[in-house]
């Protein structure tokens, strides 16, 4: 048991929690927040791996994930705004337009 | 060079039509007409200049070759022999007629229609002269896609279904052919120490023998071509496509597109895989005969005029398959003749069906009847082509079918006899057309439909002259293709 493995475990737990969040919440905002957690977990795993091999690549990947997360959040939240204005709800289950 | 000119006239003409149509519909039609007439005159002028060479049945009258993508051994190689010349002539003739017969029929998106029409024609023309397999495949696709649009946009009520079916069937075949082409390409490359090429003449030297590989590759080509032909279990796209397509579309489908299949078999399957194709010859002939009888049976049952004619095509194309795989000079000459005469006669029947539909707004033969009273000229014209379709001597189809059967009889008397029985069945369905449409009491309540207009006269008269000429003096055609046929028959 070393620290990298510990960190990876933490990352896995975080990822799992994020996933549970995405799966259980109906509110789009909460889902987005959960996605952020998952992304963070993934980044953490990268950094841990990078540290394990003593390479900067892991951190670089984290940077990219960070950038991506930022973009995703901005677009996602813009969509949330639109959805809320149009549908007056945040419930994903009621937003199903592809239904059957 | 003339071949390049011909194809590019059609391609450019098509684009020009599209552009012009934005301004003026009539000008667009004239542009199309001028383009197809130019494309028709080119080979004729060329023929007049080179008559002795062509008539002697020499091989490879024109050979035009430039590099296209040399890295992969792809060349822009066009060549024409007697067979190609005949098919080009048929293509350009029917092209002119197709433009003429859609003169009034197409009222919307005229420009795009003529664009598609001309591009299909260009593709067909290209297929008949491309001597590079990659280029061949290219033209093969060029003729399919515009045809799909012709059916899907200007077709009848059920056009979507028909267009999809047409496309899926032919595309399946096309992809199989592409696979086979690639397989052949690699096998040839390996055999000739890395000399990878798509050139037809180079590939002819590939030795394949009669192994499983050869058989599979051959089947890939064959399936593509017999779908086009069509052979019986693979024919079901044809009635739908034919009956739903606009008149010009049906004309081109029946007159030309089906011929590309037969052409492909004669040009590629037999020379490239002589042994492999000989080993399946009997089965192919059997399927041809099945096609003859089965198509005739189905044709008799139809009530939709265009569908009926479409099934007669299935029946007639059975003769082609029978003749090709008989491997006899006579039968092959008959096949070439059948390609021509079927193109003319069935094309004419489709044009007639189109004219009737324009007047009566129906294709159901139960709602027609007694039309001879109203349209004696059209009745007489229909009689000519109905008789051609049932193989009356004096008209071209007889010569073709006679030679095919005569050639096939030497190989397999039983099959030839069954095929001859198909002639009786052909009489059944052909007479049904006359009886239901032109004989009997006139049924239309409204004013009787008008007889043939001058424009239609031109179309029908040229087809009639062609079919009678082919029936009474077919020798020039036989002379022109004799070189090719002898080569293939020797295999």
């Amino acid at each position: 048991m070393n620290s990298a493995q510990m960190v990876l475990m933490v990352a896995a737990v975080l990822f799992a929690l994020g996933l549970v969040g995405v799966l259980t919440r109906k509110n789009v905002i909460f889902m987005l927040i959960s996605v952020e957690i998952m992304l963070n977990a993934a980044g953490m795993a990268f950094v841990a791996a990078g540290a394990k091999w003593q390479q900067p690549d892991g951190q670089i990947m984290f940077l990219f994930i960070l950038a991506m997360a930022a973009a995703e959040v901005s677009v996602g939240l813009a969509l949330v705004l639109q959805i809320y204005h149009q549908h007056k709800t945040m419930d994903v289950d009621r937003l199903r337009e592809l239904r059957d | 060079m003339i071949l390049v000119w011909m194809i590019s006239i059609l391609l450019i003409g098509g684009v020009a039509c599209w552009l012009v149509a934005q301004r003026n519909q009539l000008a667009c039609k004239w542009t199309a007409l001028v383009a197809v007439i130019a494309a028709f005159l080119l080979p004729i002028i060329w023929y007049i200049q080179h008559t002795p060479a062509v008539g002697a049945g020499n091989n490879w009258l024109i050979d035009y070759q430039v590099k296209w993508i040399p890295a992969y051994g792809i060349g822009f190689h066009l060549a024409m022999d007697g067979l190609g010349f005949i098919m080009i002539l048929l293509t350009s003739l029917l092209g002119v007629l197709a433009v003429l017969c859609s003169w009034n029929e197409i009222r919307e998106k005229t420009g795009f229609f003529f664009f598609n029409l001309l591009w299909t024609l260009a593709g067909i023309g290209g297929v008949f002269v491309a001597m590079d397999l990659f280029l061949f495949y290219f033209f093969w696709e060029v003729m399919l896609v515009p045809m799909y649009f012709l059916i899907a946009i200007w077709g009848d009520f059920n056009r979507r279904y028909a267009a999809y079916k047409f496309f899926i069937f032919t595309q399946t075949g096309g992809l199989l052919m592409l696979l086979s082409i690639l397989a052949l390409y690699f096998i040839h490359g390996q055999q000739h120490s890395g000399n990878y090429t798509f050139d037809y003449f180079a590939l002819l030297n590939t030795t394949l023998g009669n192994g499983a590989t050869a058989r599979w590759i051959m089947l890939g080509f064959l399936i593509a071509f017999v779908i086009k032909l069509p052979m019986v279990p693979l024919h079901s796209w044809l009635p739908d496509a034919h009956s739903e397509a606009p008149t010009a579309g049906s004309l081109i489908l029946a007159g030309l597109l089906l011929k590309t299949g037969a052409y492909g078999i004669i040009r590629f399957v037999l020379p490239l895989f002589p042994d492999a194709s000989a080993s399946i010859a009997w089965w192919a002939m059997l399927l041809g005969v099945v096609g003859i009888v089965y198509g005739a049976l189905l044709a008799y049952a139809q009530t939709d005029l265009k569908r009926l004619i479409a099934y007669t095509s299935v029946s007639h194309m059975g003769f082609v398959l029978l003749g090709v795989f008989a491997f006899r000079q006579m039968a092959l000459q008959g096949v070439v003749m059948q390609l021509l005469t079927h193109g003319v006669s069935t094309g004419a029947l489709f044009v007639l069906a189109g004219m009737l539909k324009e007047r009566l707004h129906t294709r159901d033969i139960n709602q027609m009847g007694g039309l001879w009273t109203a349209m004696p000229r059209m009745g007489a014209l229909a009689m000519v082509f109905v008789m051609a379709s049932l193989g009356l001597p004096m008209l071209g189809n007889f010569v073709a079918e006679f030679l095919i059967l005569l050639g096939a009889f030497e190989v397999s008397p039983v099959l030839a006899v069954i095929a001859s029985a198909g002639l009786v069945l052909s009489a059944l369905y052909s007479l049904r057309i006359m009886q239901k449409v032109f004989y009997g009491q006139i049924q239309t309540i409204t004013a009787p439909p008008a007889d043939v207009s001058p424009r239609e006269w031109i179309i029908m008269a040229s087809l009639t002259i062609a079919i009678v000429f082919l029936g009474l003096y077919p020798q020039p055609v036989f002379d022109i293709v004799s070189g090719v046929v002898q080569q293939v028959a020797r295999l």
């Binding site: - | 079916k165 009489a427 020798q475």
Partner: protein
């Protein structure tokens, strides 16, 4: 003289082209001149040719003219080339001469018809095709003419196309003859396979060397050719189309369905005599078919009430005689019967046409009657024709030809007492129904008023034909009566001489019996029908049933209907939608079904997707863990 050959078919062809292109713009007299004139020109050409043929017979007994090479492929070479020898000459004489008379007649007969031009165009085309048929020097060209006459027959039977039954009759005629044609075509293939040529001269020359007499292949070939002939000549079992074919105008029945086209089968067999002689089996079959046909058709003629159907069945029966003669090897007798039959049967049809028109399109003989006084010219000419048909001794052409056939059917090498008896019975029946026809139509009470008297133009051809019906027989006398054999002298340049049995019985005896039988037939008819109208048939149920059976032509139509037509229609109907197409549609529908199953999962619920992804990941990881 060679160069004239092409003109004979070219004149009618010219007429056809002119009439079909410009027919609608021309006035009736012009059409009549073109239509009848071209055939008359052909007839004149024929007569000129014939005279010079008789005066200076050509080298080898035939003239030939090559028009152009039709097609040459590999070893097959087919030319459009014409050939005239004695046999052909007889046929083209009948075709053009009788044809010209019928054309003249029809210029008057059809004058009220709107489609005057179409009628003459078809008639001209018919004459042209028929001429090509008999003048062809190879079998492919013969087949061209063969199909051409079939086409014209179809066009003319269905001439009044607005009546559905006419169209059905036309279709039936075309289809049934087409069956025979196809057999003929297969025969041609077989011949080509065996001999490598389709030129008649070559075939006849090489056949004896190539085939073993009585061998399987020659028998097959000849049987196929015979079936072809049977289709065109309406012999059993392909005879059912001819009675229905009477739906066409009367001149058509006279020209096509009595004088010329239906004898094409006779021509074919006579022309291919070299082949048929090599196969005794086929010869016997031809004779038997002929004998049965003449009897069956004769019986049917007895029961008919439609004047034209009586004549139609009688035509079938008379062609049966020709087949019988061919079968027993009496070649020249068959051709001679064709020769006389053409005159008297054309005459009978034309006269029937006059009567029918005069009585407002009344076809039923029991609605006629008493016409002897009202239409004396028609009566006299009809009498001449009927006499020839029933072969009244000495005074009619029919006697000479039919008597020869009767005689040969016993005494020729292929002859047989049974055949003779059948032929004799046929002769009796013929006499009976001819008498019945005469008596019912011309004697008794007048049941329909005569609506108009025929034109002179229609009577003249009748008189000419009547003259020939009486005198045409005089060019060939039975050997024992008077040795004059103008006809067989000519014919036997082409056809082999009839081989007789040894120790043949006396010909006198046979002539006596034949004459007696004919006269007794006439007498029986007189007894049965004179002064009464044939109501007596209905009185006995047995007789009535027989009459119905005969009336329907021995129920052949019904038989075919059940054996061929119904199953065919059933087959086509059930498969109208194309089974194979269904298969593809099933594939398409299967994938659509699959699609709809999958699209349930495509429901837009985000969480479902994620669960799907999760399940996939779980599955993969579990898999890795377990393996």
């Amino acid at each position: 003289m060679n160069q004239l050959l092409a003109y004979i078919p070219a004149f009618p062809l010219l007429g056809f082209i002119l009439l079909s292109l410009f027919g609608r713009k021309l006035t009736n007299p012009v059409i009549a001149i073109i239509g009848a004139g071209t055939v008359c020109l052909a007839a004149i050409t024929t007569i000129v040719l014939g005279v010079s043929f008789l005066q200076t017979p050509p080298q080898g007994g035939a003239w030939q003219q090559l028009l152009w090479s039709w097609f040459r492929v590999g070893t097959l070479s087919v030319d459009l080339s014409l050939r005239i020898d004695a046999l052909t000459l007889i046929f083209i004489f009948i075709i053009t001469f009788v044809g010209a008379l019928i054309h003249i007649y029809s210029t008057f007969f059809m004058r009220h018809d709107a489609d005057y031009a179409r009628f003459f165009a078809s008639m001209n085309l018919f004459v042209c095709s028929m001429l090509l048929l008999v003048m062809a020097d190879n079998l492919v060209l013969l087949y061209l003419g063969w199909e051409g006459v079939g086409l014209c027959s179809y066009l003319l039977i269905g001439f009044w196309y607005d009546v559905p039954s006419n169209c059905r009759a036309a279709n039936k005629a075309f289809l049934i003859t087409r069956i025979g044609d196809t057999a003929l075509l297969i025969g041609l293939f077989l011949l080509f396979k065996e001999l490598g040529s389709l030129n008649m001269g070559t075939i006849l020359q090489q056949a004896p060397k190539h085939f073993v007499s009585g061998g399987a292949s020659i028998t097959l070939i000849t049987i196929l050719l015979m079936v072809g002939g049977m289709g065109k000549s309406a012999q059993l079992p392909l005879q059912t189309w001819l009675p229905d074919a009477m739906a066409g105008p009367s001149p058509v029945s006279a020209l096509i369905h009595a004088a010329t086209m239906v004898t094409a089968g006779v021509y074919l067999i006579a022309r291919m005599n070299g082949l048929f002689q090599l196969s005794p089996v086929t010869m016997a079959i031809v004779a038997i078919v002929g004998a049965i046909t003449l009897f069956v058709a004769g019986c049917s003629a007895l029961a008919q009430t439609d004047i034209k159907r009586i004549l139609a069945y009688s035509t079938i029966s008379q062609i049966g005689y020709m087949f019988l003669a061919l079968g027993v090897g009496a070649w020249s007798a068959a051709i001679f019967h064709f020769f006389t039959h053409a005159f008297f049967k054309a005459l009978l049809f034309l006269a029937a046409g006059v009567i029918i028109e005069a009585l407002h399109h009344e076809h039923n003989i029991f609605m006629m009657g008493g016409l002897r006084k009202r239409m004396p010219e028609v009566f006299l000419t009809f009498l001449a024709g009927a006499a020839a048909l029933s072969a009244l001794p000495l005074v009619s052409a029919g006697f000479y030809s039919k008597d020869a056939i009767l005689w040969y059917s016993w005494s020729a090498a292929g002859g047989n007492p049974v055949l003779w008896l059948m032929a004799l019975a046929g002769a009796f029946i013929t006499a009976l129904y001819s008498t019945r026809l005469m008596l019912v139509v011309f004697w008794g009470d007048m049941r329909s008023p005569v609506h108009e008297q025929p034109d002179k133009g229609m009577i003249i051809p009748l008189i000419v034909l009547a003259f020939f019906s009486v005198t045409a027989g005089f060019i060939e006398w039975p050997h024992n009566l008077f040795h004059l054999t103008l006809f067989s002298d000519q014919v036997q340049q082409v056809l082999p001489q009839t081989v007789m049995k040894e120790n043949e019985p006396s010909e006198w005896l046979f002539q006596g019996i034949a004459a007696l039988v004919t006269l007794s037939g006439v007498y029986l008819g007189y007894v049965l029908y004179y002064g009464k109208s044939g109501v007596r048939w209905q009185q006995s149920p047995g007789l009535s049933a027989t009459r119905d059976f005969l009336f329907s032509g021995w129920k052949f139509d019904q038989l075919y209907n059940y054996v061929f037509v119904k199953p065919y229609l059933f087959l086509t109907r059930i498969n109208k939608g194309d089974v194979i197409d269904k298969l593809y549609n099933a594939i398409a529908q299967g994938s659509m079904r699959l699609n709809s199953w999958f699209s349930v999962s495509q429901n837009g619920s985000l969480r479902m997707y994620i669960v799907g992804v999760l399940a996939g990941i779980l599955f993969i990881i579990t898999l890795q863990l377990l393996l």
